[in-house]
């Protein structure tokens, strides 16, 4: 047996093929275009900053969104809403996602996305119908191209894949964006959704708002991955992680993700590192699982302040505009308060209207019974 000298063997070894996983992996650091105080960082080759007028609009909708959110929390205290899951602190994500989309794209929101839906131009009273409790969805999802807010965690991830595939199948260039939280990435339907979208090359953007907690459970209990964005590579899906409190970076990264999907390259996964400043909902007591120092440390990265500083420094925003936007926000909140003041009227007979296209004989019977009960109640009252 002849042996090849070591040096020769090493020299004759073919060049290692490029690692196919490499292009799918997120940057090892969060993409960031502004520093925490709002000063611009060096230009990023993959993520050009969006045009300044778009950023001013982003700012405007974030201010309105925050004001809406505060108003909704206040409405819970007045008993006008059954419950409200606040997105305060997540404005860059909530609004950035909407600005990255066209009006005819589809959005798959969760219970957390009330602010995003108002940013989409949906009437805030219609948005709050679910939480006020007069029906499960107040807006017309077909017209708004916005699925009803989804509560069973991650189940919307598969719907987004199906919708996006169906649209592409019928020759339309619609993109679907599915919102989800850090906790929801542990659910099977997240994995099934991303996998289906990847296998069928469906144009979906999966947008994870990692706000560090799933109710009380911290991220470390959801995953041992370096970051949630690393979950894409196993499905062949390119991914990115972004500073979710940097509005410029969020929009820049989502713009790229949407463009990737729309160009027919399949799904894209974005993880935004952010923080919810409020408890999980008004009914939650966050002091039981996180301390005030932690919350305060995120206060310094406030996305609205950060964008305002940046735009002022660029000369794109002045006191007049800031005041005008603030006034708009107050008007918006006042109108919402006003319209949420009265209890809505609900009609028990509508309970039977949409179970099936045609009610079953059993539902017809039950409807008649409820109608008779209502009539008897009226007689008793009258």
């Amino acid at each position: 047996m002849t042996t090849t000298p070591r040096a020769v063997r090493r020299n004759s070894r073919p060049a290692a093929p490029p690692d196919p996983a490499r292009p799918l992996l997120p940057a090892s650091e969060q993409i960031r275009l502004l520093d925490p105080a709002g000063a611009p960082l060096p230009v990023h080759p993959d993520y050009p900053a969006p045009p300044v007028e778009v950023l001013v609009e982003l700012y405007r909708r974030m201010v309105l969104g925050r004001r809406f959110d505060l108003q909704a929390t206040a409405l819970t205290k007045q008993g006008r809403l059954a419950v409200y899951p606040s997105a305060r602190g997540q404005e860059a994500c909530q609004v950035g996602a909407i600005l990255a989309l066209r009006d005819d794209d589809w959005v798959f929101p969760t219970y957390r996305e009330s602010m995003a839906l108002t940013a989409r131009g949906i009437d805030p009273v219609e948005v709050l119908t679910l939480l006020r409790g007069d029906w499960h969805c107040g807006y017309d999802p077909a017209v708004r191209r916005t699925a009803p807010q989804c509560t069973p965690l991650a189940t919307q991830c598969v719907h987004a894949a199906g919708l996006a595939h169906g649209e592409a199948y019928q020759g339309r260039d619609t993109v679907a964006l599915a919102f989800l939280g850090d906790g929801a990435t542990s659910e099977g339907d997240f994995h099934e959704g991303v996998n289906f979208a990847a296998v069928f090359k469906a144009p979906v953007v999966y947008f994870v708002q990692n706000n560090q907690y799933a109710i009380s459970v911290p991220l470390s209990r959801q995953t041992a991955a370096p970051s949630l964005a690393y979950k894409g590579v196993g499905y062949g899906v390119p991914s990115e992680q972004v500073d979710g409190n940097d509005p410029v970076a969020v929009l820049a990264v989502l713009n790229r993700a949407v463009a990737h999907a729309r160009a027919g390259h399949g799904p894209f996964l974005v993880e935004a590192h952010t923080y919810r400043m409020e408890p999980h909902t008004n009914a939650d007591d966050a002091a039981r699982y996180r301390d005030a120092d932690e919350v305060a440390s995120w206060q310094d990265r406030d996305p609205v302040v950060r964008l305002e500083t940046y735009l002022r420094d660029r000369g794109a925003l002045d006191d007049t505009t800031v005041a005008r936007v603030a006034a708009q926000a107050e008007e918006y909140a006042a109108d919402l308060r006003e319209r949420m003041h009265d209890k809505p009227t609900v009609d028990p007979l509508t309970l039977f209207d949409h179970v099936y296209a045609e009610p079953t004989p059993q539902l017809v019977e039950q409807r008649a019974q409820v109608r008779a009960e209502l009539a008897a109640d009226q007689e008793g009252a009258g």
């Binding site: 589809w106 719907h159 894949a161 199948y169």
Partner: protein, 334 residues
Amino acid sequence: MASMTMAKALNTALADAMLDDDRVVVFGEDVGQLGGVFRITDGLAARFGDKRCFDTPLAEAGIVGFAVGLAMSGLRPVVEMQFDAFGYPAFEQIASHVAKLRNRTRGALTAPIVIRIPYAGGIGGVEHHCDSSEAYYAHTPGLKVVTPATVADAYSLLRSAIDDPDPVVFLEPKKLYFASAETQLPARTEPFGRAVVRHQGTDATLVAYGPAVPVALAAAEAAQAEGWNLEVVDVRTIVPFDDDTIAASVRKTGRCVVVHEAQGFAGVGAEIAARVQERCFHSLHAPVLRVAGLDIPYPAPMLEHTHLPSVDRVLDAVARLQWDDQPDERWVAA
């Protein structure tokens, strides 16, 4: 008329529906090239292309959730769960989304999806391949739940399911897949919501569906030797349920036995018995009885015949219908 199996009738129904409506897409596990493990989708991918009949990743929640999204985009998905017990991973999608989409959006979005599920036993299947899961679905408002017992119904009910504006869980009795009958397709039988009298009788009514219908018919045949003339009603569509046909039959005969393969406790038979008593109390000469599977996890193949409703068990129940005006001695306090 040609002799045809239920499997072929189902296959033809899918092909005809795809031919008539471009929006119909068929997908699931092994349904493409292979044609499904029971060959119900045989030839569809070759005929209509792999965009309209295709294999998916192996994930049932994914399959059903994908169908929800496709329906939202305007398509008409027909999906296959490979076996009854493998539909369970999809249960959340079915119960929380498929069943509720129309209601939660007040009709703005709908889910005209057909979920085909080969179900029930009697084929010597190993664990997890023989469940009768109809009660889970029937208990979920918003779903229609359908199960054919004849070859013509298999074709017609599947066509109706695909045309239906609401989601349909379409339960295909495995045991009957390869039973054949003289059938001319395209057959159109009674619509959804209509039960059918399969055998006329005067003494007692057997109510059955799916794989229990042939058992009930065989029992009616055998009962003649004992001097009983039994009527057999095939439920066909568990939801929507046809109270009228069943109540009319029981008012005529005055006695009723419900027969199904699923375990009896909290099963569809309990619902039927309750409904019959609510409607026919004054016509009944005996309590409504049930002949159902035992309240056990589906048994191993060598024991399944003990579990399944048999002609003898049905006849034993009929014998207990207080023919001599004596109460059933099992229920009389000692």
